[in-house]
């Protein structure tokens, strides 16, 4: 989403001014703390008056977020934040609206509203804290938990096939689709800035560690020892390179991605797939660097960054334009009360 306000006076507040008097109640070590910190760091840079900012969440650990932001905020009901921001944006397009949600909140109970928000492209920032678990209800598997996951509600392992949130957002015609993680503050801040700069629904999936019920779910992506091999940070116009010594790359063989060794003398950086945020087809392929290693299949690193961006009209802009057009006709309440045909008695 983008709200254009650059007056330096308007933005005269700091991260500290975004801290509320409420005690933060997440478990010590929870990834939510880092996300809160990055959001509180980035928001003052954006030049948006504090009173024009609204944080709206559903229910879940992640959805406690608005209580900790000294802006306008609403902690609503499970899964419905997407519908609430849609109503708010319909009538108040000038506000900077941020939605905070969990994997259960947005992809399970709120799945319907989630896809419709993306399709309508309201100009909001949707931060999805994906911890691949139901945190607040103490550890049941979620729609992003992997198959076979053993949790309180799946003692023999889950038989559910998980959602791929990025692919789902692309499928719902999201106009900004990105991924980041709690443990990479620099990248997360950059993704928050990019989300804010986009006009339309900015979908940012944030991998968030629930150290109580799903500790280490994203360890391979966050730990130093494996991060470089297992992650792929994509940037517009840059080749897809990863690996401990940036020695691996991804090449496209037709529509088939192939991992290549940049040291084998057969491939150079020039042969690699150059990331193009505006290419929907390639974004689709990239989103599939996700499926957990199947026996015999190529193992791909997990991409982070902006997968896809598109400029498309926002719902509220269309609605406002219709109302402006309609207003060329006088709003005459007496004429409305009177209707087309009347008769007089007495």
């Amino acid at each position: 989403m983008s709200v254009a306000t650059n007056s330096s006076e308007a933005a005269a507040y700091t991260s500290k001014d975004l801290v509320t008097d409420q005690e933060v109640r997440w478990c010590p070590g929870c990834g939510d703390y880092s996300i809160l910190k990055q959001v509180q760091t980035v928001v003052p840079e954006l030049g948006i008056p504090r009173e024009d900012i609204v944080f709206i969440s559903g229910i879940g650990c992640s959805s406690r977020f608005p209580y900790y932001m000294e802006t306008f905020g609403m902690h609503s009901i499970h899964g419905r934040a997407a519908a609430i921001v849609s109503g708010l944006k319909s009538v108040r397009p000038e506000l900077s609206v941020w939605m905070v949600s969990g994997d259960g909140d947005s992809l399970s109970i709120g799945g319907n509203h989630f896809i419709h928000l993306l399709r309508r492209n309201f100009d909001v920032n949707l931060l999805l804290f994906n911890n691949e678990i139901y945190g607040l209800t103490k550890g049941q598997y979620s729609p992003t938990s992997e198959e076979g996951k053993v949790t309180k509600s799946t003692p023999m392992g889950s038989v559910d096939h998980p959602f791929n949130p990025i692919a789902l957002a692309l499928g719902a015609d999201g106009t900004f689709v990105a991924r980041s993680m709690d443990r990479d503050p620099v990248h997360l801040k950059e993704m928050l800035r990019r989300s804010n700069a986009h006009k339309g629904t900015s979908f940012l999936e944030i991998y968030q560690n629930c150290n109580v019920f799903n500790d280490g779910a994203f360890e391979v992506f966050t730990e130093k020892s494996s991060k470089k091999e297992e992650t792929l940070f994509v940037e517009h116009g840059k080749p897809l390179v990863f690996g401990q010594n940036s020695d691996k790359g991804v090449k496209l063989d037709g529509f088939k991605p192939v991992v290549v060794d940049l040291n084998d003398g057969q491939n150079s950086a020039n042969d690699l797939w150059i990331h193009d945020e505006r290419d929907r087809v390639k974004a689709g392929i990239l989103s599939r660097f996700f499926d957990r290693a199947q026996p015999g299949a190529t193992h791909f690193p997990r991409p982070f960054g902006v997968f896809y961006v598109e400029d498309r009209a926002c719902y509220e802009t269309g609605l406002k334009a219709q109302i402006e057009t309609a207003k060329s006709k006088k709003a005459d309440l007496d004429a409305l009360l009177k209707g087309r045909e009347t008769w007089v008695i007495g």
């Binding site: 009173e51 609403m74 009901i77 609430i84 319909s90 509203h113 109302i323 709003a331 309440l333 008769w343």
Partner: protein
């Protein structure tokens, strides 16, 4: 021809035919003409439940009932005096609703072997000829043939010609009831301004029908229905859903807030969405959501944003909104939830009427979650009642449930509409600037209402949510004492509304006596007519009709205790009756009808007579 003229006090006509026969249009035209001639009236359309039911079959029959007279009319009427049928199925579907000795006007072409078969008459049986209609006055005419003859040299195709059949019937009825055709002629000129050949055809057939009455000796008598003694003023005809929509626009204008409607289509509420979507020039924002939950949640968002926010639905959709209504109650934001009730449970009887969602309105949420509930009694009353719902919502910062039903939503009646200047303005509890102190979002005023501080207001940043909140600060609180305090506070706030609504009046009859009939919602007309008749017969009976159901008007108990017996007619198994018994501990008596059909006056009258013995 020695023409006889007879003056009638009131007439009930039912127009019935196949969905494609244009009976709704015929009915509305006859209605508008009656209105312009000063009759009082009430109408009710009767649509087929299926959109494309097979032609000629009973499920495909579409009807329109009109009750008009030179006396005050309160309902679309019970059994009809005149039944106009375009085909055999229409006769079969409606005959049991015709008075003994009533008149049938039948299009013989609709009684050919094919139509008879489609209407499930046994082989070789034609009710027009087998004497089964002996107890009625039967007037037959081959409408199709005469329409085709009138348009033989029009150059139009048979399909287009046949589409004008309804005008023949209308013309004939205009003759029969001595009505001026000018209104319909004007209507046709406007409707077909771009299709001169169709216009000409319709005009011609309308006149042909009129002339047929005059020249044929089919009917010896013509009737006159004189103007009714109505309060002086300017009137229009209005349907319930239309009045609801216009009432919302009026409320929005009068409280100076743009209207936001979040809705998901459902019979019989959809017309409010359709109607409001035409009024964008009044700043009306209509939003067709992905489901009913999204619709009310969008309303919560819009209310938080400072607008007059409304959601419309019917029973099944209201069930889906339950959790979000609870959130609205916790957030204490103004919004109106409109339930145009239909037959339930589940999908129930979508096109039929019922009052069976009163308990749902009162109790259909988790936790202690009271909200004001108010109900409209007639099509035109939807205007005043929805206006009042908006006022209460905005002044008390609360969700309000407005109840209407399929009967008044689609029914129509003359309405002495107000001038915008007659409507009392009201305003939101906005707080527009910080006084420097810490903002207390749940600090209450004398109405126990909290301030409305909308995003964009500098210095008033605050958070609200569905978790229990501390008194005044609105911070999350799990304190046991505080929870009980807040539950009672929310209850007290709703109860407080009673200080700001009119006391209950007696609609007809004395303030004290043997029997009081208490109604709510769309039973108004039938109760009104029944009580009037009973009183004319000398019975000691009064009528009170409730608009405010939660809270009740402050004097209601006193009023009930003034009568020996209280009768509560309802189109459900006794929901208001239970609430009255619970609240006032009176042995009130229920009269219940659960057929998807409104009460007839005679059903209520019979009960009054029984209780008056």
């Amino acid at each position: 021809m020695a023409e006889q003229q007879q003056v009638l006090e009131r007439v009930i006509i039912k127009f019935a035919g196949d969905s494609g026969d244009g009976m709704q249009l015929t009915g509305t035209q006859f209605t508008n003409t009656a209105a312009l001639l000063g009759n009082d009236l009430s109408t009710f359309p009767d649509f087929p439940a299926e959109i494309r039911a097979p032609q000629g079959t009973i499920p495909g029959v579409s009807g329109y009932q009109l009750h008009f007279g030179s006396v005050n009319i309160f309902t679309p009427g019970d059994a009809c005096d005149v039944l106009v049928v375009m085909n055999a199925a229409a006769l079969k579907a409606n005959l049991r609703n015709l008075q003994k000795g009533g008149t049938i006007i039948a299009n013989t072409d609709g009684f050919d072997p094919k139509n008879l078969r489609l209407a499930n008459y046994p082989d070789g049986v034609n009710p027009l000829h087998d004497g089964s209609l002996e107890g009625f006055r039967l007037i037959t005419m081959d409408v199709t043939k005469m329409t085709r003859a009138a348009l033989s040299d029009s150059g139009l195709g048979v399909k287009e010609i046949d589409r004008a059949k309804n005008m023949f019937v209308l013309g004939f009825l205009y003759w029969m009831y001595n009505r001026d055709m000018a209104h319909t002629e004007k209507f046709l000129v406007e409707k077909f301004s771009k299709k001169p050949e169709i216009l000409e055809a319709n005009m011609k057939v309308l006149k042909a029908g009129y002339n047929f009455g005059e020249t044929s000796e089919t009917v010896g008598v013509r009737y006159r229905v004189l103007p009714a003694p109505m309060p002086a003023g300017t009137y229009r005809n209005i349907m319930g859903n239309q009045a609801t929509a216009i009432g919302l626009v009026a409320a929005s204008q009068k409280c100076g807030l743009d209207l936001f409607l979040g809705s998901y289509p459902i019979t019989p509420a959809s017309d409010i969405l359709h109607e409001l979507s035409k009024y964008k020039n009044f700043g009306v924002h209509t939003y067709q959501a992905e489901d009913e939950i999204a619709a009310i949640c969008a309303v919560i968002g819009a209310a938080f944003g400072g607008k007059l926010a409304i959601t419309t639905s019917s029973g099944p959709g209201i069930a889906l909104k339950g959790e979000a209504m609870g959130l609205g109650i916790m957030l204490e934001l103004p919004m109106v939830i409109i339930n145009v009730q239909r037959g339930g449970p589940s999908t129930g009887l979508p096109t039929k009427t019922e009052q069976s969602d009163l308990f749902q309105a009162m109790y259909g949420r988790n936790g202690e979650a009271p909200m004001p509930v108010i109900a409209a009694k007639s099509p035109a009353d939807c205007f005043d009642t929805i206006y009042e719902a908006c006022r209460i919502a905005v002044e008390f910062m609360t969700p309000v449930m407005f109840l209407s039903d399929g009967y008044i939503a689609n029914g129509s009646e003359p309405w002495r509409f107000p001038q915008s200047g007659d409507l009392t303005a009201f305003k939101g509890n906005f707080i527009t600037e910080s006084n420097g102190d810490k903002f207390l979002p749940y600090k209450r005023d004398e109405k126990l209402s909290r301030p409305w501080a909308i995003p964009g207001t500098k210095g008033l940043e605050h958070r609200i949510g569905g978790l229990e909140k501390q008194h005044e600060t609105g911070n999350i609180s799990y304190d046991p004492e505080n929870h009980e305090f807040m539950v009672r506070m929310r209850e007290a706030k709703v109860a407080k509304v009673a200080d700001y609504i009119p006391t209950q009046t007696i609609d007809n009859g004395n303030e004290k006596g043997k029997l009081l009939v208490v109604g709510w919602g769309s039973t108004y007309g039938a109760i009104k007519a029944a009580v009037k008749e009973a009183r004319a017969k000398g019975l000691d009976v009064s009528h009170a009709h409730l608009r405010y159901i939660n809270p009740f008007p402050k004097n209601l108990g006193e009023l009930l205790y003034n009568f020996d017996k209280v009768l509560v007619p309802e189109m459900n198994t006794g929901q208001l009756n239970s609430i009255l018994r619970d609240k006032f501990m009176i042995p009130s008596i229920g009269l219940n009808k659960i057929k998807g059909l409104p009460f007839s006056t005679s059903e209520i009258l019979a009960k009054i007579e029984e209780l008056s013995k």
